[in-house]
Structures are given as C-alpha cells and as structure tokens.
C-alpha cells in the first residue's frame, strides 16, 4: 500500500461549526481564518435538536461539532456511511470531558478533539490530526473494499488457472504465472483479468455446470 501523503495546509476548506455562541467561538473563527479556512458557523442552542448538513465533501469541507450540544446520533443516510465514519474530516469540541459526550462525537467520526475554552495554539494540531486521520481511515477503507472485491473474484482466478491447465497442459504455477503476466500487461488486477476471461467465455467446455453451482461468485 502506498504511504498516504500528509496534508499540512488547509487553505480554502470550509469549516462548518456547530456550537453554542461563546467567547471562544471568536478565537476559533479568527484562528481558522489565519489558517486559510472559511468558518461557516451554525449557532445551536444547547438543548436544540438539529440536523447535520447533507452537502459535505471530503476534500472541500471540515466539520467542527461541539460535544455539549444535543448531537444527532448519526450522519444523514444519504452519505451511506459505516458507523463512526464521517463524510469529511471532523473535529470535536470538548467542553464537558465526560464519556457520554466523547462517545457522541466519536460516533460521528470525530478524529481529533479541541478543548474548550479554545486556545489558538491548539487549533492547527486538531485540524492536522483531524484531516490526516480522516484521510488515513478513508485510505484503509478503500483498501479494505479493494480486498473484499478481490476476495469475491478469487473464484475466477481458480477457474482460469484450471482452464489453462486443461487447455494447455500447464501446471498450476505456470498457468498462474501466465495469467499474472497477461494481467500486468493489461494493467488490471489478476482477479479482474480472470473475471473478464471467464465471463467472456461462459460456454467454455471447462466452465462446467457443477463447478458453477458450487463456486458461484459472491
């Protein structure tokens, strides 16, 4: 897996802030502006029920949520997120340092915390961790998805190896080696290559019914 590149400049990001009005909000907004972000504050009163926005993008936005608010339990369904994931980097504001409040922010995917009252010298670190941890989780998720996909297509590799062994009289290693070279030349994964081979020849005499039944993809 390639090493993720570290983001260190957050210029141009919109920072959507959900918090109660307070003295430290001014410091937060000023510091965010100094860091090149555009603060977009949505004041919320402590007990108010509110909804999180549906228009956030991972590259252009950042969300700051205040644990002292009556936070929603999850992001809108339109994002189709797994638990504890956020649609964009998310930083939690910690007022009351209690497990229930920290959990509420963690459930929304907060990857870093910023203590209230806000100290300007802590903001950059919170953004740095928030953005880079988000990227890292995103990267891991993408590589997990990729692994799952390859696992799903493993059957085509087995079938393709078996087909080549029968058609050309090769042993397992030689058959696999050939498929791998072909896939590299085509610049696709060996799983994708084998899948397209097998799907292109569904009536191949080697693609027998009983095998199909037992080893269906998925």
């Amino acid at each position: 897996m390639k090493t993720p590149r570290i983001a260190q400049n957050f210029r141009g990001r919109r920072a959507v802030i959900f918090t109660t009005e307070g003295r430290s909000l001014g410091i937060l907004e000023t510091t965010l502006r100094r860091l090149g972000l555009e603060p977009d504050t949505r004041p919320v009163s402590p007990r108010q029920v509110f909804e999180l926005p549906e228009d956030l993008s991972p590259e252009a936005d950042l969300v700051i949520i205040d644990g002292d608010l009556n936070l929603p339990q999850a992001w809108p369904e339109s994002y189709n997120l797994s638990p504890q994931h956020a649609p964009c980097p998310t930083v939690g504001l910690v007022g009351t340092e209690a497990p229930s409040r920290l959990k509420a922010m963690l459930q929304l995917g907060a990857a870093s915390f910023l203590q209230k009252p806000i100290h300007s010298g802590a903001v950059y670190s919170a953004l740095y961790l928030g953005v880079n941890a988000f990227e890292q989780i995103d990267g891991l998720k993408a590589s997990l998805d990729d692994m799952g996909e390859r696992r799903r297509k493993r059957i085509y590799v087995i079938k393709a190896v078996a087909a080549l062994m029968r058609q050309r009289g090769l042993n397992e290693d030689a058959a696999y080696d050939l498929l791998r070279k072909e896939s590299m030349r085509a610049r696709v994964s060996v799983e994708d290559h084998c899948e397209s081979l097998m799907l292109a020849n569904p009536d191949s005499d080697l693609d027998r019914g009983e095998t199909k039944k037992r080893c269906q993809a998925r």
Binding site: R5, I6, N9, R11, T30, T31, R34, Y124
Partner: protein
C-alpha cells in the same frame, strides 16, 4: 490627553549563546524608548525594565512573571522561538502582550503576541528562489537543534523537492556547539550546490570560520564553490565571525544597515551614537525598534495602555520604519515587511543583491505559498512488465 507614564518590559539575553544579537534588540528597543520619551507630541513616556535571561531557557518564565508582578503588561522580547513558547502561556494567563521582534519559522499566531520580525515567506521563500536560480538545487542543510533549525530545514527540503532538487544531508548541532570538523568533512564529501545554515549564535560563527579555513587550506574558493546561505545572519554577527569567513556569505532578511534612504541613515546614525560600544545594528534591532514605536502609536490611538485596546489599535497600524513602510496585519498580527537578499562584505556590511518592490504581508502558516500536501519523496517509480 494627558501623557501616560508606563513601565514596559524588555526581555533580552545580553549574555550567553545568542547574547550578541539579542543585545542589539535591547539597543533597538532602548533607542525607540528614548526617541518616544524625547518627543513632546508622544502620548506616552516609557520606563523600560530590562531583564537578561542569559540565553537560559529556564530563566525566561520567572523573568516574565516578575515583570507581571510589577504590573507590567507590555513586554518586548525573546530571540529564540523556544523562549517565546516558554513564556506565551504566561502572557495568555495574565493577559499581557508580547511584542516579538525576531524573524522566526512561523506556524504560530497567539492572541497575545504581535510579531514584528520576518515570517517564513519573508525570508525562506525569496532565498530558495534565489539559490535555485543562482547555484543549483542540491543543498546541504545544517541547523541548531531546536525548532528554528528543524522548521527552516523542513521548508527548504520541501521547496527543493517541489523543484526536483534534493537535500544531500540534514544535520543538527546543540545550541552553542562549536566543533565543526565532522560537518565540514561531510560537506566537502557530498559536494552540494550550496549550504543552508540555520545554526544560531556561537555555533554559526564557528561554522563560518572553520569552513572558510578548511576551504582555504585545501585551495577551495568557499564563496563560489560552497556558498553559505542563512536567514539569520546580520551585521553584528559578521563582526563576531571575524575577518576570516565573514565576507561573501548570503543572507536573507528584511533589513540591512546598508539600506539606502534618509530614514535608515537617521536610524543607523542615532543607533551608533546611542551605543558606540556596540553591538552594531541588526535586522532584529530594527524589528525591536519598530515594535516599541508601534506600541507607542497604538497606545496613542487607543488612548489607554490596556492590552485589549492596544491590541485593537495595533491592527492595521503603520510605521515609517528604517526598512520602509511596516504595517501590522489585523488578521495575523504579523508585520508586512520588505524581503531582501544581501551578500556580506569584508567590512561587515551587506551589499543588497535583491529587493522586493514593496512590503509583503506575512504568511505565518505558509497557507498561500505552499500546496495542500507535503511534497512526495522522490522515489523510483518503475513498473516492471515482462
């Protein structure tokens, strides 16, 4: 308005590893106090209280605390970033205001500090452009082992990577270290296009001397074969280096005492007259001088010395400084300054090689001058297809 009488703190190490430069800062601040006190139209008379922390990090916080205990809230001081970081919590706790008159590596914007020295986009960015255009893109980086050295070298490394250059080695020495033999051998071995020097104080002077001596002994023309570039080399430091090694060195700064113009001439003369024993004027002295004048102007505008009101009045404050017009940016509380590149001469002054046409706003977090991601390490990226 009745003229205010105000005690202010001057926190500069006139002794110890970086005492020489910090002493010029004390002088610059003192000169500004004298000018303001002698000006009948000024709104305030300053009574400066100086404490010398002797370049010892542990002596800064107690010094600031003792100033606060005396009711002082405006303090001009600190040369190293580590000392500044040490005292900032006290300023925030007691709501004092630190006027910080030193070039630094950026990545800070405390609500209780006003920065009148250069930010990294003032000194690093123009220097890297100059070095790449003039000498090449292979650098040997050396620095004192603390935040100034680390961050200066990081910016240098990333900018070179972006330009497809490289850092052949990056080495750090403890503050005050003067044994340069191993470093010098490595430079001669790795043959960089230039040496980037972020050493401070005695280490830096020792390096300039020893490197020049070694080069001369081996028949190498140091200034042309291995030019040394620094963002913290000023006139009093050239004198500290001495006759061997002081000339032909590159310095990126917002102020040199050889700058043309009547305003600077008056400043240099007044400084020389006030401090005939030296150390001579430096960029940091000018920054301290600017800081105290800005403080006086802000107090005049605010009509009070209360920290909140002065901070508000300081936003956008303009001063006709020896280096040219200086403005305090209301967003970052950093000064807009005019970058220059100087080449040192044997008479311990600088020839100005390049000069920005106008003052440039500080970009302490380099948000406008760098890309989102750190640049990728260069590596071989070959696909093997059989």
């Amino acid at each position: 308005m009745t003229r205010l009488d105000l005690q202010i703190g001057l926190l500069f190490s006139t002794t110890g590893a970086y005492g020489r430069v910090a002493h010029t800062q004390l002088n610059g601040a003192q000169l500004a106090c004298d000018e303001i006190n002698a000006d009948p139209s000024a709104a305030v008379t300053f009574h400066p209280v100086h404490i010398d922390p002797e370049s010892d990090l542990h002596k800064y916080a107690p010094a600031v605390q003792s100033m606060f205990d005396r009711g002082i809230r405006h303090i001009c001081g600190c040369y190293t970033s580590s000392s500044r970081k040490e005292v900032i919590p006290l300023f925030e706790k007691h709501d004092g205001l630190l006027w910080y008159p030193t070039h630094y590596e950026g990545f800070e914007s405390s609500t209780n500090v006003i920065y009148t020295g250069a930010a990294p986009n003032h000194h690093m960015s123009p220097l890297i452009d100059f070095l790449c255009a003039r000498f090449g893109r292979r650098a040997y980086c050396i620095g004192s082992n603390y935040i100034w050295g680390w961050e200066s070298n990081r910016v240098m490394r990333e900018e070179l990577q972006r330009r497809r250059g490289e850092v052949v080695a990056e080495r750090y020495l403890p503050v005050g270290e003067t044994d340069m033999a191993a470093i010098i051998e490595e430079i001669l071995e790795t043959k960089p296009d230039f040496v980037f020097n972020a050493l401070i104080g005695e280490s830096s002077y020792a390096f300039f001397r020893a490197f020049r001596e070694t080069c001369e002994a081996r028949g190498i023309e140091q200034t042309t074969r291995f030019p040394i570039a620094s963002c913290n080399l000023s006139e009093p430091e050239l004198r500290a280096i001495g006759p061997v090694g002081a000339d032909g060195q590159i310095s990126s700064s917002v102020y040199f005492s050889s700058l043309a113009g009547e305003r600077n001439k008056r400043f240099v003369e007044a400084y020389g007259k006030a401090f005939p024993e030296g150390p001579v004027v430096s960029a940091e002295a000018e920054a301290a001088y600017v800081a105290i004048h800005m403080l006086a102007k802000s107090i005049a505008d605010a009509g009070t010395a209360s920290v909140g009101a002065v901070l508000e009045a300081a936003a956008g404050q303009v001063f006709d400084a020896p280096q040219g017009r200086v403005t305090i940016d209301p967003e970052t509380y950093h000064a807009a300054l005019t970058p220059r590149i100087g080449l040192s001469r044997a008479d311990f002054e600088f020839d100005i090689l390049l000069e920005a046409p106008e003052p440039i706003a500080a970009d302490p977090y380099l948000v406008s001058s760098t890309t989102t991601f750190e640049p990728a390490e260069r590596r071989r990226n070959v696909r093997v297809v059989q």
